[in-house]
Amino acid sequence: MEQTEDIDAGLVARMALGDESALTALYDRLSSLAYGVALRVAGNSDAAEDAVQEAFLRVWRRADRFDASRGRARPWFLRLVRNVAIDQRRARGVRDRAETEKILDVSDKIPADQPDDIASRAERATRLRAALEQLLPVEQRRAIEIAYFEGLSHSEIAEREGMPLGTVKTRIRDGVLRLRAFLGRDGHGA
């Protein structure tokens, strides 16, 4: 995890100096994660592409603002992708839930001639989603996905789902901790 983080942070630092090769390297490392998040939030591939492109452009413009002492580069970038996608979705005011549900099964979208690392990542994603479904009760998984993919606050989730705020917080926290424990046991590194 630490070595991975060093690489991502180093690439961002190189981007701050105008190194375009660092941008493509970071893209190659994070594009599937970014696109997955954007797709989940935006609900369609065109909007997801726009969100990912905008996120990479913002990183390119603001790479010098990244402060490694305040957090790791990968979650920083993934939150940026999520926020951009949420903003764009809100700007559009429409969300095509049907399309979203259709494209969630990403394993079907992996071309046969994709490189091994992409295929490997897709496989890992499939196992992770399976784990999420096994580990987390439906309501817990739903709370987490709403919080992280729709950008709602705990209070907004509580209001929308009609449950106490404390219950929402507990579900999300417990669900993330279970996920963390699973990742540690399963040998997954983010």
């Binding site: 941008l23 493509t24 599937s32 990968r74 897709a122 992770l128 580990l135 901790l177």
Partner: protein
């Protein structure tokens, strides 16, 4: 079996973990064109940046050039103005010089006049000084212990009187004339010393103005004890060695 949960983990770490885990779980290969789109967008971004910097540099250079042009224009205008001012100043100086030259001319004229006045005043002063000296001598002569006098009486048809004073020891002499008329051009009064039966001896010329009063110092009279009388005649200018004109005053020495 559900894994044992950790509770001593901060919210930030949980948040990072969640977003990464969810991203991993829902990872999806991006369309190949997206990479090219992003690279192209970044290239456009860089080009815009270069253009903006170029424009900025151009603006800066332009602003500098404009500033320099303004500065040089200002300097040129100032020099031009200085030139004009210098021209104006030169013209003013020329006029001033002209005025000064005129004033100098006036002053030179005044100086000449004053010089002449000074010369005249010196001459007058010299005359006054001589007159004063003469009067002083006459006064000393009058107050002297051995003075001899001769009262000169007018001859027939003549108006005026006179008196001659002579120091018996030194021969210093002075004459006081009163009432004699001024003489025509080329004539002068001349004093004569008479010693008994001998021929009159010239004792000096007396100016016409002197004849209107006041003591006039006369040349020293040799052997004053032998003088018996004095006389005044009208002679040609420059005097004579013996009387040639009419005797107007004559009188014996007393004492």
């Amino acid at each position: 079996m559900a894994p044992e949960l950790e509770t001593n983990i901060d919210e930030r770490e949980l948040d990072d973990l969640a977003i990464e885990a969810l991203a991993e779980a829902y990872a999806a290969p991006a369309p190949p064109r997206l990479r090219e789109r992003i690279v192209a967008a970044v290239d456009r971004e860089r080009e815009r940046g270069r253009s903006a910097r170029t424009v900025q540099r151009t603006r800066v250079v332009g602003a500098l050039a404009a500033s320099l042009a303004l500065v040089f224009a200002g300097l040129f205008a100032r020099e031009l103005q200085r030139g004009r001012e210098s021209g104006i100043e030169l013209a003013a100086l020329a006029r001033q010089n002209e005025l000064l030259a005129q004033q100098n001319g006036v002053l030179a004229t005044r100086l000449d006049e004053q010089g002449r006045e000074i010369v005249e005043q010196r001459r007058v002063l010299t005359g006054l000084h001589e007159a004063l000296e003469s009067q002083s001598q006459v006064l000393r002569l009058v107050g002297g212990p051995r003075v001899r006098t001769a009262t000169l009486a007018p001859q027939k048809g003549v108006t005026g009187t006179g008196r001659v004073l002579v120091d018996a020891a030194s021969g210093d002499a002075a004459i006081v004339l009163s009432g004699l008329p001024p003489l025509e051009e080329g004539k002068t009064y001349e004093l004569w010393v008479i010693r008994g039966k001998k021929a009159p001896e010239p004792a000096g010329l007396v100016a016409v103005s002197d004849a209107h009063g006041g003591a006039v110092r006369m040349p020293s009279v040799p052997r004053p004890n032998e003088v018996t009388a004095f006389a005044v005649s009208i002679e040609p200018r420059g005097g004579s060695t013996s009387p040639t004109g009419p005797i107007v005053l004559v009188g014996p020495v007393a004492g």
